[in-house]
């Protein structure tokens, strides 16, 4: 009677595979593979050393087991650690040399590679499996001193900057996946905003995993010097395979005095089918260091994809009066599992942080918020406010909240609140009784639930996120 059973689940739109000549190394990992990756990229000796140290440390670690997620551990010897579309020339000089098949792929994904067709006002770095394909608007940004390029190019063109900041926020010893990433990362984006510069457009990276056996291990580093500011967006998709692919990225942000970095993600990796077959393992380490006074780092994430998500974008608030923010919507459906949240580490005086987390669970999925708010003895006047809301749709899913609060300064003020709600048949009927179809009703309710997060997203992302959530939930109510 509710008429909802008829609504079918939307297929994953981005599940196609691009047939392209790729150059891949054989699966497996040892020092030889790491030397090979480093050699292919023509890296300096110090970076190879960094990789090898990370690898040797990784061998001593075991996978973290504390998260509320259950999956078969990946076999790290079966993963391809380097896969790149074969260039027609050794390096992409201009767009005309990019394989037309790749250009078509990204057009299908809604990410045109040609600047003339690109979204106005957004510069894009495009990463396909292990390498960056192209970066748009590079020259225009270069004119004001901004460096926006692939990580490999940054190593070649700006080695001093990379060397100065790489691993300063997320040391290779940080955790199992960060160590693995530090050993085998292949590409990613590099952003440097010099002193006093407000980046004139949003910067964006689009990540695409194409190869069935390959993992993606990208590395992103964003540095904002004194008084600089930037807004950075990240999007991701992958084809539909019935095996799991591993994505283990590391993102490091550094903000100096009065700098501000806003980092937004819409994560739509393939989530596996409705029985939990296939999908991406998304094990990501993201951390920002507010090094300078009055600096600000803001994370906004809309997590809708991946079979397993393990991700805690964090802020280390070292500079006095620095500000950390985390706005998150995590949606799980079918058999997806997410354990995501943030860490706000207050080191400096009068530092402030805000956490707004909205978890939506449907189907047979499991959705966990895990967050740490830590106030060190010297962080006098620190403030945190956290709000963690869960919405459950149906009786077979679950929602979990694990906030850790550690306070060692008496002048700190930390507040945490959490609630749960549901979309039930009563609520839907009310909308339907007023003539609003079930799809629109769900979308409105979800939007209302998430609006504190959506309003933090850049406009075009907010629209996309709204659509994405509604699509993901179709057929799950009723």
């Amino acid at each position: 009677m509710s008429g909802l059973e008829g609504i079918t689940s939307q297929e994953y739109k981005y599940g196609f595979v691009t047939e392209i000549d790729a150059e891949s190394v054989a699966p497996g990992l040892d020092e030889g593979v790491i030397r090979l990756i480093s050699a292919k990229k023509g890296e300096p000796e110090w970076l190879l050393e960094f990789r090898l140290k990370a690898y040797r440390h990784w061998l001593t670690l075991s996978e973290p087991a504390w998260a509320n997620v259950h999956y078969e551990r990946p076999d790290f010897q079966k993963i391809v650690y380097y896969s790149a579309p074969k260039p027609r020339k050794p390096q992409y000089g201009s767009m005309d040399e990019v394989d037309p098949e790749l250009v078509r792929t990204f057009e299908k994904l809604g990410v045109p590679l040609h600047e003339r067709e690109a979204l106005a006002g957004v510069a894009v770095d495009v990463v396909f499996d292990s390498v960056s394909v192209t970066t748009t608007y590079k020259e225009k940004l270069g004119a004001v001193g901004i460096v926006f390029c692939s990580f490999s190019e940054a190593v070649r063109e700006h080695p001093d900057l990379v060397k100065k900041y790489l691993g300063t926020v997320v040391p290779f010893s940080d955790n199992f996946y960060a160590a693995l990433n530090s050993a085998v990362f292949t590409d990613g984006s590099f952003v440097f905003i010099p002193k006093g510069v407000q980046c004139p457009m949003d910067l964006s990276t689009y990540f695409r995993i194409n190869n069935k056996e390959s993992g993606q291990f990208e590395r992103t580093l964003i540095v904002a010097e004194e008084g600089a500011s930037v807004s950075y967006l990240e999007g991701c998709t992958a084809p539909q395979f019935d095996t799991n692919q591993l994505h283990a990225a590391v993102v490091e942000l550094v903000a100096l005095d009065d700098a501000s970095i806003k980092y937004s993600t819409v994560q739509n990796w393939y989530a596996g089918d409705k029985d939990g077959k296939g999908g991406i393992f998304n094990f990501v380490t993201k951390r920002g260091l507010c090094r300078g006074r009055r600096s600000k780092i803001s994370w906004t994430q809309v997590e809708t994809g991946s079979a397993i998500t393990w991700k805690y974008p964090s802020c280390v608030l070292a500079g006095e009066e620095s500000v950390g923010e985390f706005y998150s919507v995590a949606l799980t459906n079918h058999r997806q599992q997410a354990d995501t949240g943030t860490k706000m580490v207050h080191l400096g005086r009068n530092t402030r942080s805000t956490i707004i987390s909205k978890g939506i669970s449907a189907g047979r999925s499991s959705n966990s918020y895990r967050g740490l708010v830590k106030v060190h003895p010297k962080a006098a006047g620190a403030r945190n406010f956290s709000q963690c809301d869960s919405m459950l749709i149906g009786q077979a899913c679950s929602a979990h909240t694990f906030p850790y609060i550690e306070v060692q300064n008496r002048s700190a003020r930390v507040e945490h609140e959490a609630t749960t709600s549901k979309i039930g048949e009563e609520q839907l009927l009310y909308f339907q009784q007023r003539g609003i179809p079930a799809e629109d009703a769900i979308s409105m309710i979800i939007n209302g639930f998430c609006k504190e997060v959506f309003r933090e997203l850049p406009m075009e992302f907010a629209v996309e996120a709204t659509k994405l959530l509604s699509l993901k939930l179709e057929g799950s109510v009723g």
Binding site: L429, R434, P437, A438, M444
Partner: protein, 253 residues
């Protein structure tokens, strides 16, 4: 406008409607009365398609079409409206956004132009005057934190916006003080015209002073056990429900 024939329905294993027959023509006001648990709210919920109830027999024609072939939202767009006894709260969705969407969906279905945000402002300001509602309620989340009376006011505002052919008002008077009842009663009267019809579901005859019914039906045990004109309501006010029940039992025996 609405023909109900031998309608039976159940919730879980319990029969809650046990053969209802009712004919409602344009321009008429019907009151459905009865003691608690008699099935009167159920009848309204079944008509608008509440998923908890299963229709087990009979048929309902609304403007000539089989009502049960329509989804709840399609029924609403076809002109069926229910003012709920306990309207639900929806945090985070603004009242005005909800109303505008509902209005535009109906306009779209009827091939009329949708209202843009500016036109909507004018339109809704006009409507809230009808129910004497404070405009501040428009920007609040839908029904969230509204008092019982404010929720009812909001229900009638929605009725005014959607202008249904047939409105079912479930216990409109519960939670209302005497002034609010007068305001909403007048609003409902002004929304009536010869093309529209109204069903009032109520436990107490008080509201029938405000909105005069043409017909009164008394429900008990999922059946209509007595029918009459508005004088029946007066009699119920004076004598309660027991005598009707007794009469009906005697009639069956």
């Amino acid at each position: 406008m609405l023909s109900i024939r031998h309608l039976t329905a159940r919730i879980g294993e319990t029969e809650v409607l046990r053969g209802i027959d009712l004919e409602i023509r344009a321009g008429e006001v019907h009151a459905i009365m009865g003691p608690n648990g008699s099935g009167k709210s159920t009848l309204g919920k079944v008509l608008v398609g509440h998923p908890a109830y299963e229709v087990t027999g009979g048929e309902v024609l609304f403007q000539g079409a089989n009502l049960f072939e329509l989804e709840p939202d399609a029924r609403a767009r076809a002109g069926l409206f229910m003012g709920f006894q306990h309207p639900i709260e929806v945090p985070g969705v603004s009242n005005t956004a909800f109303l505008r969407l509902a209005y535009n969906k109906k306009a779209e279905a009827e091939g009329r132009d949708e209202l843009d945000p500016l036109e909507w402002e004018d339109f809704i300001r006009e409507k809230i005057r009808l129910v004497e509602m404070d405009a501040a309620f428009l920007d609040r989340s839908l029904n969230e934190g509204f008092s019982g009376g404010e929720k009812k006011r909001n229900e009638i505002l929605q009725m005014a916006v959607l202008e249904p052919r047939l409105a079912i008002l479930d216990e409109l008077d519960s939670g209302l003080d005497i002034d609010a009842l007068r305001i909403l009663g007048e609003a409902v009267n002004r929304l009536m015209n010869p093309d529209r019809a109204l069903i009032l579901i109520t436990h107490f005859p008080r509201i029938l002073e405000m909105i005069q019914p043409d017909f009164v039906h008394v429900l008990n045990g999922g059946r209509i056990i007595k029918q009459g004109g508005k004088e029946l309501a007066h009699e119920l006010e004076a004598r309660g429900y027991d005598w009707v029940k007794d009469e009906s039992l005697a009639g069956r025996a």
